[in-house]
Each structure stands twice: as C-alpha cells, then as structure tokens.
C-alpha cells in the first residue's frame, strides 16, 4: 500500500507527534481542524490544513465523510488516526480501505473482535491467554459458592446487569459468602431490577501492566516489553512507566508471549496494546486489547530506542518488522507524566483558556510531547491533556529524579495545570518505592500548598507590579478624573483567571 502523503485525523499532541515522524521520513502531512483549532499547533506544523467544521468533535473530527473528503481534496493516500476519535472505529477503517486509502491501523476485523470486552475475553481464552478466572453466568446460590471455592478466595461478586460498583461485593472467606451474596443480590435487584450475580476472582490492589505488541502483514509478531500504568486517578492514567518495577524477566517473557497469542489469534497488524491486571504474586490476567497507538507509547520508545509511529508507517506500507523478538532492546527506565489543563486545588476541575506563558523543560533525556504553544488556546471541547512529559534514566530512581527536576522547569501561565501534583507524586513514598496499584490515588495524598517559606519573593513580585501600575497611572494625567479606574483597567487586563 502506498503511503506518500498522510492525513492525520486527530488534533493536539498526538497529531504533532505523528507530524514529527513524518517530517523525519520526508512524508508530507495533512492536518484537519475544527472551528476551535484554526490556530492549533498541529495546523501550524502540518504541510497542509483543511477545515472540517464546528468545534464539537461529533461535528468535525468524528465525521468520517469529512475526513474522506479531505483525503480526496488533498490527495492523501493514507490516514493516521492517532488515538481516540476514529482510531478504533471499524466502520472508518473499512471506509478508508474501500476508498483505496491506507488506514494506519489494524484490519477492521481486528478492531471488531477486540472492540467488545466479552468477545475479546473469549478470543483470549481460546488463544490460551490467561483471563481473570470467573464464571460469567448467573447461577443459584450453592452453585455460586462451589464456583467460588473452585476459583479460590478472595472472590468478587458482580451484578450481571451492573456497573459503577453497584451490586459488587468482595468476599475474603467462604464463611462470609452467604451474607455477602444476599447483600449483592439485594443491591442488584434494587439498582438494576435483576438479582442475577456472577462470581470472579478478586484481584486485590491490582496493577495495570500492558504489553506493546507490533505485527506486520507477513505474520510476524513481536512485543516491545511492558508499561505499567497503575498510577490512575478516577480510572484515568496519570503516570506511566517502562519497564514495570513489578515485572521480572520471567514475567516479562510470559506476559509478552501471552500477548502475542492474542495478536496471532486475530491476525493482528500494526501497533497494539494488550492490557493485563497483575496481582502481588505476579499472576496476570487479560483485560482488553487497544487496537491503536497508546498515549503512553513514549516510554516504550525511550527504553527501546524505536520510533513506534515510524514502525506503524512501515507496516502500513507492507514492509516486514525491522527487528526480531531477540533484537528488541530494553535500556534503562522511562517515566511519563500527563500534563492536564486542570486545577488540582479545585478537585481537578478542567481549566481551558489561553496559555499566556509557556516554558517547557529541556536538557538531557527529557522529552516534552506538547500540543500547545505560548499564546495558544486550550479549547473547552476536547481532552484536557496538553502535553506528555517523559524522562529516561539508567535506573528508575534516576528517571524519577530527572522528572522531578524537569517538572521544576515547567512553567505554564494563564490556565491551571497539574505540574505541582506530579511534583508531589515524584516525592510520594509508595510511588518512589514502586509500590503501585490502581487504587493508590483513591485516598488523595494531594493537599493544596500552604504558605511556604518563600512568600517574601512572591509578594515582592506583586509589590513591584503594584508599584509599576501606580507609576503608569501617575504618568497618565490626561486620563483626568477617571484616571484611577483606567489605570486599574490595565491591571484588569492582567487578570487572567
């Protein structure tokens, strides 16, 4: 398949990320943009740019016909979907194929078979990849107890129709089973009008560990080791790293091979991620497969030295994978912090707006994948992630110390952001020790900073500002009686929040 001009059906940092690799490869790029994104960084950086409609994604970035139309107008013969938007939309993949446009992603059938959690679980079971042991059918009370004993305690009871934690019960011992089941059924009935309950192995303090896989069109499949993404806030990944502090070489090999079983089972093509839950005893269980480039791919690029977007393009062109499994490097350690436009002091409320000041960290083994610039607007319509800061070090602790130093250089003005939150995490004992689990941030360790030791410096800057404002006011006698109000209008313009 030819890939001579790539349309990037995305925005923000991932569009910029793809453009960078295309520039290195000498491939022209086509950006698309909504009303909110005329001045966005991806539009500035692409070779061509086309307008595709209103700010709301469902009227622009998600409208397949508009993307197809821009392909025609621009002559793009390939589409990179990034993540989100159309990236895991099988209909889109089919439509591009039908129009003779290379979709830089897996075949539509792979997207379909991995798109449903239950279907994916069945594929994994059939392929011999471990899944969370459980009986995903509803039974009578005594059958459920028998099943639980077979699975082994602790177990989790879950409402068949459930969601959102309702009708769920963690059962530690057989003695507690009957009463827990009764309460689970009661809650299920009152919440969902159905008291059906099934039983699954309970993973206590689970770790989210995922395997990056890569496959070509010639049936070759490799894994690019694991990433750990256990540091989450409300099921949203906050920090990712590679490798995982929990994974031994044996576990890596076992997880990698399990992931490849799934990839082989669906004749996978391109970049994919097989997500697992792991417990303290290093058992791991298939969760789902993401059939696209992952947000956190930079940490894998750090430890392997590879360019995952380049590999995606090579595979889409029909080339063979450039390396065999044995040749995939694993050097040192990488950490990634997701920089969000949100206010940690106000319950992480999103903070869109204009970025009035921006200084990104620099120096050795620091990488900032940003989607903004000084003067850019962070629109209210899209994801609040504005950048991914990643660092590498020969050891985990060195990567963490580099991240701490790099966060200290980051300056974003005009909007609120979570840099200070990440700084606190870099000094958080359990994080530094690698004692991660997906619930580690449920009890929030973050506290708004109280008056620190350097208040004098902060106030001195404000006093100078007041002094200069007064002097400007004094220098403008022409403004007459309204002088005071006018001068403070200037101060008002300085008000950015």
């Amino acid at each position: 398949m030819p890939v001579t001009k790539i349309l990037i059906a995305n925005r923000g940092e991932i569009a910029v990320r793809v453009i960078r690799t295309c520039r290195e490869m000498g491939i022209p790029t086509v950006a698309v943009y909504s009303e909110a994104d005329r001045g966005a960084l991806h539009v500035r950086m692409a070779d061509e740019a086309y307008f595709i409609g209103p700010a709301a994604a469902r009227e622009s970035y998600l409208v397949l016909e508009k993307i197809l139309d821009v392909c025609k107008r621009s002559g793009a013969d390939a589409v990179h979907p990034g993540y989100g938007f159309l990236s895991e939309n099988a209909e889109a993949a089919k439509a591009f194929e039908a129009a003779g446009i290379t979709f830089i992603g897996p075949r539509p059938e792979c997207i379909v078979s991995m798109g449903s959690k239950t279907a994916a679980r069945e594929v994994a079971i059939a392929a011999g990849c471990p899944v969370v042991p459980g009986i995903q059918e509803t039974m009578a009370d005594d059958e459920l107890l028998a099943a639980a004993q077979k699975i082994g305690f602790p177990v989790m009871l879950k409402a068949a129709m459930g969601g959102g934690g309702k009708g769920m019960r963690l059962v530690h011992k057989p003695e507690e089973f009957a009463s827990s089941l009764a309460r689970a059924r009661g809650e299920a009935l009152s919440s969902f009008g159905d008291d059906s309950v099934y039983v699954e192995k309970a993973i206590v303090q689970p770790r989210h560990i995922e395997i990056q896989v890569f496959s070509d069109k010639h049936g070759n499949h490799v894994y690019l080791h694991e990433r750990e993404c256990s540091v989450q806030r409300r099921h949203q990944k906050v920090i990712e790293e590679a490798p995982s502090p929990h994974v031994t070489p044996e576990m890596r090999k076992a997880m990698g091979e399990a992931a490849l079983k799934v990839a082989r089972a669906v004749n996978y093509v391109g970049a994919g991620t097989v997500e697992f839950l792991a417990d303290a005893d290093r058992n791991f269980y298939f969760l789902e497969m993401n059939t696209r480039l992952q947000v956190e791919h930079p940490v894998t690029e750090w430890i392997t030295g590879l360019d995952l977007v380049k590999w995606q393009i090579l595979v889409a062109r029909g080339e063979k994978l450039p390396m065999t499994q044995e040749e995939i490097p694993l050097n040192g350690w990488a950490i990634e912090c997701r920089v969000y436009a949100e206010d940690p002091d106000k319950n992480f409320m999103p903070s869109p707006g204009k970025i009035t000041f921006l200084r990104t960290p620099s120096g050795r083994n620091v990488r900032d994948d940003g989607g903004v610039y000084e003067g850019a607007d962070v629109p209210m319509f899209y994801d609040p992630m504005i950048s991914k800061l990643s660092t590498w070090g020969p050891t985990r602790l060195e990567a963490i110390e580099r991240m701490r130093a790099a966060l200290g250089e980051y300056r974003i003005g005009g909007i609120r952001h979570n840099i200070a939150f990440h700084e606190a995490l870099m000094e958080h004992g359990p994080f530094r020790e690698g004692a991660l689990h997906t619930g580690m941030l449920d009890k929030p360790f973050w506290k708004k900073k109280e008056q620190g030791p350097d208040l004098k410096f902060a106030v001195a800057a404000a006093l100078l500002h007041e002094l200069e404002t007064e002097q400007r006011r004094a220098a403008q006698p022409a403004a007459g009686a309204g002088g005071t109000a006018d001068a403070w209008k200037q101060w008002g313009r300085f008000n950015r929040f």
Binding site: F357, K449, L455, A460, A462, L463, H465
Partner: protein, 173 residues
C-alpha cells in the same frame, strides 16, 4: 508604597521602596535589600540575601476592585494572596467580606448540561445545583450557601465563560 498583605486569615504590613536605583522590601517593619527584575512580562527574577528565585505572577479575579488578588508561581509551587492599599481599605470601611456571597459562578468556560434546582428551592451547603461540561468531563457545581434559590441565570445547553453568574442563592435567615 505600602500595602496590606492578605493571606488566608492573616494580614501583614508590607512596603516596597525604590530609591536611587536600590529597591528595599519592608516586611513587618524589617528592611531587606532586594534586586528585582522583570525578565519577561509577568516573570520576575529576585535576588534577596544571595538567594535567586524566579516568580511568575498572574492576577486573579477578585470581587472587590480595591483588593488585588495574585497567584504567584515559584519553583516550589503556587502562592495565593491579595494586596490592598491601606488608604483604600480605610475608605472602603468594613472590608472585603460579603460581596459575591450566594452567587454560584462558572469556575471555567463550558456548557451547562443539567440544572438541578429551580427558583424557590431550598438548598444546603455542599448541594449540587448544576452540572457543567468542559473538556469531555462533567463537573458538579455545589453551593457554599444554605438558603433559597433566588435566580437561575442560565438555561440548560448554554455555553458560559469563566466567572459568569449561574445561580443566586439567598442565604438562610
């Protein structure tokens, strides 16, 4: 130039003097020789007794025009405080409290997706009055006032800017 520094519930007397090219910071009566330079708009380099600290300054909205609220970002995090000209504070009399109380304002630009109360409803401190959406996330906005809903300023589906009044609650009693 004298100012009253308000930080949390504390207040301090602070002053900055700029004479013969030298700048002095007077902090609660104690003088510090200070070297301060605006490097970039809103970005200051300060040398004080050898230490070098960079301060990024943003203004912040304040209900009282004579109270200038600031948010300063340093290497170790953000500081929030306000400065008041003591002469103005005298003129203004009672102080800054009270203004803005009972008005639920939009903390960010976004879309009102759900109104949960109507005029006349009784509400409790901490109760969610409205749901706003911004950046793919829904945010529950809660009132800090116990009382009765007086006015609902917006409709469902409306797009609002930061600081827009959404709902006014008349305090109890």
């Amino acid at each position: 130039m004298k100012r009253t520094l308000l930080i949390g519930k504390d207040s301090h007397d602070v002053e900055m003097l700029h004479q013969d090219g030298a700048t002095t910071l007077i902090w609660e009566g104690e003088s510090h020789s200070i070297d301060i330079l605006e490097l970039e708009p809103g970005c200051y380099s300060i040398l004080l007794e050898g230490r070098s600290v960079e301060v990024r300054l943003d203004g912040a909205k304040s209900p009282d025009p004579d109270t200038h609220a600031y948010r300063a970002m340093l290497y170790d995090g953000a500081y929030e405080f306000a400065l008041v000209d003591p002469r103005r504070a005298l003129l203004a009399g009672g102080g800054a409290a009270g203004a803005g109380g009972g008005v639920l304002a939009a903390p960010m630009p976004g879309k009102v997706v759900k109104l949960l109360v109507a005029p006349g409803d009784t509400v409790q401190e901490g109760q969610t009055l409205l749901v706003m959406e911004a950046m793919k996330m829904q945010n529950e906005l809660k009132t800090t006032t116990t009382g009765t809903v007086k006015t609902v300023h917006v409709q469902e589906g409306a797009t609002v800017e930061t600081g827009a009044s959404l709902i006014t609650v008349a305090p109890e009693g």
